[in-house]
Symmetry: C2
Subunit: 114 residues, 2 copies
DNA sequence: GATATACTTTACTCTATAGTAATGTGATCT
DNA sequence: AGATCACATTACTATAGAGTAAAGTATATC
């Protein structure tokens, strides 16, 4: 059990936290964020990389934008999106590790119970 | 921009990640997790601390259990819940910091624009 | 100015889930 | 056994949002 400094959180803070997590709760949005790890990309590029429909990608990007997970730069006909915050990288790293651990754990329990 | 080691993630991994985040996407569940930071607690205690209805608390605890965020121990009439994994602490810490930063940033921009 | 391009928004259907009340379940006590 | 207690589940309503198709908007090109 690590030493954890507990903060006092208001109802508003819990709401904000929830909305932040919700931004990362859909596979499509995770794919978009993941794709943007390489750096700034246009919507067309993101559509191609994720394999989603353009309207759907656009909608999810809007949600990520409102959650301030990504930022947008318009240039000519294009909209370029990029990860807004360094903390997003940390977050993804942590979650990826967690999922990786769980996947390998599931794999182990599967093979040992077979 | 930090050096970030990008993994290859499957569709299944994105789904798992999404479900993990979804577990943390509701204020009530965050309150429960937050409350459990102190250590193991019974449902009654959690009901009292969160101010929610028993049925609702119970349902959310079930979701957290299925997401393996918490674990359950039954003893007599009581069910005791506890944080399942150390990574939950790290995750909460990171997110709390992020929200804190954003709140203070909002506060600053509010007071400087007034 | 008409047309094409890149993206956004709207309108729609469908599914998931939050909150609540009522009921069910299993352990404990008398 | 019957009552009670702690919790879980079910049934219901209401709302959010995911995916899709169609229409809208703004910028560039001819």
């Amino acid at each position: 059990m690590p030493e954890f400094k507990k903060r006092d959180l208001s109802d508003e803070a819990f709401e904000m936290l929830g909305e932040q997590f919700k931004a990362f709760s859909e596979p499509m949005r995770l794919k978009l964020v993941y794709s943007l790890m390489d750096g700034e990309k246009s919507v067309s590029e993101l559509v191609e990389e994720t394999g989603g429909l353009q309207a759907n990608v656009s909608k999810h990007l809007r949600m990520l934008l409102e959650a301030k997970v990504v930022e947008r730069r318009k240039q000519g006909l294009n909209s370029f999106y990029a990860i807004a915050d360094e903390s997003v990288f940390k977050l993804c790293d942590l979650m990826c590790n967690s999922v990786e651990d769980r996947l390998t754990a599931d794999l182990k329990s599967f093979s040992s119970s077979a």
